[in-house]
């Protein structure tokens, strides 16, 4: 799909990127004002990856997500108000206040869950792919993870299982250059993380993760391969997180100049420039407004919702 030249696609990509950005800015603000507790992992600066990837998916396709998963959740179609309610510890939140930011899932839209364990979702994605294959289905599973995940055993085991069984899984590494404070240059011997694919006998490709079209093209090809029964693909999307790892991050491990250089490559601003021939200024502004209004409405709805109640706390431990 042409996200630049096709007005409808361009609009959808832009609105979704802005929605992710505005959602996380709202979260950042709520946090700063002491209205949100816990911790939070923001993906501001990385919006092109979930948007480009999820636009390559159909209803019924699955994703697994990460601790930095708001973008994946939104791009896969989750309801903003229910996400915000979860972060604000409300009964109407996706997890009724039990999960918070790191555990939001929306099974109805195929989101099998964010994950507080960095490579935790990788074998789970392989298993979902196995379920699809055993049922003879045509769905695919996109497994999102960061560069920090690919040195965990679960990552290797999950990717290998998907590879040997030709499972319909697309592994999307959001290489934002830091696993907490550990830079990729210190954590890997390989030049590009996509080289890891060779070890599992699957295709690997590195794309510009700040370009939704590049991500989209790579994921679209991988999805086609997966649907054709040809197995998984590893896609490395290079991007950058503008904010710290979490709320405890003092940013001691990187320079202001480095952050500034990446801010100049803002995926949203760049995309707006590239779609200027497709969308008029007024249309672009309306995309921004739409995202802002949707997030504002979500914050309002979440604030108005009842707090999560401890009355039923022990009930959801076991399914009946």
């Amino acid at each position: 799909m042409d996200l630049i030249g096709n007005a409808a696609a361009a609009r959808q990509a832009l609105v979704t990127m802005w929605t992710i950005r505005r959602f996380e800015e709202a979260v950042d603000d709520l946090f700063a004002r002491g209205l949100m507790h816990g911790t939070m992992h923001l993906s501001i600066g990385q919006e092109a990856v979930p948007v480009g990837a999820c636009l390559a998916l159909s209803d019924g396709d699955y994703i697994t997500s990460t601790h930095r998963g708001h973008g994946h959740c939104i791009a896969k179609g989750a309801r903003l108000a229910d996400m915000m309610a979860e972060l604000l510890a409300k009964e109407t939140g996706y997890c009724r206040g039990r999960g918070g930011s790191m555990h939001i899932a929306d099974v109805a839209t195929g989101n099998l869950g964010a994950n507080g364990i960095v490579a935790g979702g990788v074998p789970i994605a392989a298993g979902a792919g196995l379920a699809v294959k055993m049922r003879g289905g045509s769905e695919v599973v996109v497994s999102f993870f960061g560069d920090g995940a690919v040195n965990e055993g679960a990552w290797h085991e999950g990717v290998n299982l998907a590879a040997i069984w030709d499972l319909p899984v697309v592994f999307v590494c959001e290489n934002n250059h830091y696993g907490m404070s550990m830079s990729v240059s210190r954590a890997f011997r390989v030049k590009q993380l996509s080289e890891r694919a060779a070890a599992y006998g699957i295709p690997g490709v590195t794309v510009d993760g700040n370009d939704p079209q590049a991500v989209h093209d790579a994921v679209t090809d991988a999805v086609a391969r997966a649907r054709a029964g040809e197995g998984p693909t590893l896609i490395e999307a290079t991007t950058y997180r503008w904010k710290g790892h979490s709320k405890s991050d003092k940013n001691l491990y990187r320079t202001r100049e480095e952050i500034e250089q990446w801010r100049e490559r803002d995926p949203i601003a760049r995309f707006e420039q590239r779609v200027a021939a497709t969308l008029e200024d007024q249309e672009i502004q309306s995309c921004r407004d739409e995202a802002r209004d949707a997030v504002r409405a979500a914050v309002r709805a979440a604030h108005a919702a009842p707090d999560a109640s401890a009355d039923s706390l022990t009930e959801a431990v076991y399914a009946r």
Partner: protein, 334 residues
């Protein structure tokens, strides 16, 4: 009322497990097996046997040696609507898979506010007695019982091996089934029908008046053997087998102890922070406390890794003679 006659045959514990797997797979096409060497090899302990010839290698799925990946794949398959049954070759190797068991399988239902379930089973041979030494002989039930969201069962008879596994497969939660490797070749009557047990229901294997022995896993047949010897010596012991540690049928245990006034708790696992501490507390916190004629007594494995040499291995965990001695002491001293 007509009596229901259950058709039973004599099967080994391993055959009973296999029959449960076959019946569950026949009844529900979502059920499938995955694990190391479960296919043509037939399982490290021969449990899966010929299932691959009956159900094919898609549903009896051999995996590489990747415990974490295997359990993770089962979690994902369960989330996506299947009913996976994982075999981990030795329960010790669950240590490799602990993140997926503890942080994923056990917690997903809760973390998602009940929006998704993880109906999977993890079967693993547990316990010592085969000379396999410290990394292939542990009794780890307390690890799992401590984690909210997991269920834990320990079948002690062939009939229970079948009925508890069927219950585990039918359950919408992750269930850990700890089979004892010394029991695989034991025979006993097993109903033909695919009737699942009710999880959280203990079995009173023998009813006595002088003390209650609560035992799990291979300690159940050992306690029954000890009870026979005790009876010859004039001591009548009850033997209660919890069968399901989580959920735990505390009531059956408490009721029996209330009747006998003495409790001897027998487990193969090391004593410290073991599951029998939980049983002791269950009794201690109950009205049975007022009926105790003696302190609650625990007979457990030593706090040592399981050693290799057969005489050392035997010394590390309770044997029949140890149970007889501990029960006699408890009754005679108090």
């Amino acid at each position: 009322m007509t009596a229901v006659v259950e058709q039973t045959r004599t099967l080994t514990y391993a055959e009973a497990v296999r029959e449960a797997l076959a019946q569950a797979m026949t009844a529900d096409e979502r059920v499938f097996l995955l694990g190391e060497d479960v296919g043509t090899y037939g399982g490290a302990f021969g449990v899966t046997g010929d299932l691959v010839h009956r159900f094919g290698d898609e549903r009896i799925r051999d995996t590489p040696i990747s415990e974490l990946g295997i359990v993770g794949a089962a979690v994902g398959a369960a989330l996506a609507g299947m009913r996976p049954v994982v075999e981990i070759q030795f329960s010790d190797f669950t240590a490799q898979a602990m993140d997926q068991i503890v942080n994923q399988a056990a917690k997903i239902h809760f973390m998602l506010g009940g929006a998704a379930t993880v109906p999977m089973v993890l079967r693993a041979p547990a316990g010592s007695g085969t000379g396999a030494a410290a990394q292939h002989s542990q009794s780890l039930e307390a690890w799992f019982a401590h984690v909210p969201g997991l269920k834990v069962v320990m079948p002690a008879t062939p009939a229970d091996a079948k009925a508890l596994l069927l219950a585990a497969i039918a359950d919408p939660n992750p269930v850990i089934v700890l089979e004892h490797k010394l029991l695989y070749k034991q025979s006993g009557p097993v109903p033909e029908a695919a009737t699942p047990a009710r999880l959280g229901e203990a079995a009173v294997r023998r009813r006595g008046t002088d003390l209650t022995i609560v035992a799990t896993g291979v300690m159940v047949p050992r306690s029954l053997e000890a009870a026979d010897e005790l009876a010859a010596d004039g001591i009548e012991a009850s033997v209660v087998d919890p069968r399901s540690l989580k959920p735990l049928d505390g009531k059956s245990i408490v009721d029996d102890v209330t009747r006998t006034g003495r409790a001897l708790l027998v487990q193969e696992a090391p004593k410290t922070a073991g599951f029998m501490a939980e049983i002791a507390a269950t009794i201690g916190e109950s009205p049975a406390f007022g009926h105790l004629r003696a302190p609650i007594s625990r007979l457990c494995g030593l706090d040592v890794p399981i050693p290799y040499a057969p005489q050392l291995e035997r010394a590390a965990v309770p044997q029949v003679a140890d149970i007889v001695r501990a029960a006699t002491d408890l009754v005679r001293r108090w």
